[in-house]
Amino acid sequence: MIDIDGLSRRYGGAISALDDVTLHVGRGEFVFLTGPSGAGKSTLLRILIGQEVPTSGRVVVDGKDLSALKPADIQRYRRTVGFVFQDFKLVPRKTVFENVMFALRILGVPDVQQRRKTFQVLKWVGLQHRATAYPIELSGGEQQRVAIARALVNEPVLVLADEPTGNLDPDLAIEIMDLFRDMNAGGTTVLVATHDRELIRRVGRRTVALDHGRIARPA
């Protein structure tokens, strides 16, 4: 699913965020990307969502070479991948239902299907009763579940998450990880960046550690 070969990302020629990273994530795998702050986890995820371009090396996701994508192709690629962010990135003026449904709307899915699938995925994350609430009315855990629902509603083959439990207490973090495990059980490839070693230990999946932009411990 993800093939990274000799990936480097340098800023201004001197500061190296990623240095010769090579990584393979198979279809249907659940992988943790870990390491201390500044290790390069977020940079790697930004490259995987097309926000940044590698200085050198090759990144192929689901058969697509990301460095060769044009701007319009990047948007098309992003519609096939789900993203979950630490700060949730929900639109404050839209309700929970609208935030999730938006991901289907941009795909041009018919209205009736948009509503049906949105309701289904909200039910799956246990938030169908908060469909008309606005993000500001939700707890952190609920907001992250909305973000997960949005990432999943268009049935992506790959879900990327950048510190998805970073703003949550340990119990909520486990709840959120259970959702990721459930989606992975359904066949979705999951790559989660986190520095929470306890969480990684409890979930117990393959872990790739980054340190100073290099793979420190491939598993």
């Binding site: 319009a72 948007q75 992003r78 991948v81 938006f102």
Partner: protein, 299 residues
């Protein structure tokens, strides 16, 4: 497709309403540009009709010397009839000219009675086709007639009409230049107001970009916002023009009645109004497009 358009319009209106303080600024700028252009079209239309009317009645008057012989008169008449631009000739004798003066200026009539001789010359009053000949050809005709034996003077109305037309053209181009500057200012204002609006929603734009929304989907509402500003600005300007005309028309008609026949003062046609609204929306669209293109970018 229709769902997408509805989304653009809904979101565009929401964005317009949320930033209505700044939106009013661009709306007013567009309204001023449309008002000036509309006024120009109304005034220009009336001026053109009036000049056409005057042109149709424009005359070439050939005054004959008192001692002109019948042969000389015939030669002048033949020269006039040979000219294609001439569509009619009235022969006015000295007695008819005197009678006309006494009829048109009754207060001055007694003065003519005291004169030893009839001071008014006989003349040919020549009606010219509105567009049958160029001004230069008619100028040459007038100059040739003035040198013919038996001709005392030649008066040609169209010369000053041509000057009036030239002046009108100049004023029209100045007006269009002013409108072009105002339209440019309006487009720039719309661009900046839409950019402000996009800045206020930058987080939302970032989210839409990250979830893979097509750039047209992200930019569309802001282009619509510009079009809404343009359309509403034009409607406001047309309303102000109509109200202004309704108030001023009676006074203008009264003022003009003594000078020339202005006829009924007419407002812009439906086609012209639709054109102005469409044009203003196009300017708004352009402003929105520039702002959206420069602000919302992939990555």
């Amino acid at each position: 497709m229709i769902g997408g358009l509805t989304y653009f319009v809904d979101e565009g209106w929401t964005s317009f309403w949320r930033g209505r303080g700044a939106s009013i600024l661009s709306l007013l700028t567009i309204a001023i540009a449309v008002f000036v252009l509309g006024l120009l079209l109304i005034v220009g239309g009336h001026a053109r009709r009036t000049i056409d009317q005057w042109s149709r009645s424009a005359e070439l008057s050939v005054y004959l010397a008192d001692g002109a012989t019948p042969d000389e008169r015939s030669a002048v008449e033949r020269a006039l009839r040979a000219e294609p631009a001439v569509i009619g000739i009235d022969v006015v004798s000295k007695a008819q000219a005197l009678a006309r003066f006494r009829r048109d200026f009754p207060d001055l009539a007694p003065a003519t009675a005291q004169a030893p001789d009839n001071p008014f010359p006989a003349s040919f009053e020549v009606r010219l086709g509105a567009s049958s000949a160029s001004g230069a050809a008619l100028d040459r005709l007038a100059a040739r007639l003035a040198t013919m034996p038996g001709v005392a003077d030649v008066r040609f109305d169209r010369r000053w009409l041509d000057r009036l037309v030239s002046l009108g053209e100049f004023v029209r181009w100045v007006g269009f230049g002013l409108t072009a500057i105002l339209v440019l200012a309006a487009a720039l204002t719309v661009t900046n107001v839409v950019r402000l609006s996009m800045h206020a929603r930058r987080d939302e734009i970032e989210i839409m970009t990250l979830v893979g929304a097509p750039m047209a989907f992200i930019r569309g509402p802001f282009v619509c916002e510009g079009m809404i500003q343009g359309g509403l600005g034009a409607v406001l300007a047309l309303g102000a023009l109509y109200a202004g005309m309704a108030l001023a028309a009676p006074h203008l008609s009264a003022m003009a009645a003594g000078l020339f026949d202005l006829g009924a003062i007419r407002f812009l046609s439906w086609t012209a109004m639709a054109g102005l609204v469409a044009g203003a929306m196009a300017v708004g669209c352009l402003g929105g497009l520039v702002a959206a293109w420069r602000t919302a970018r992939p990555r």
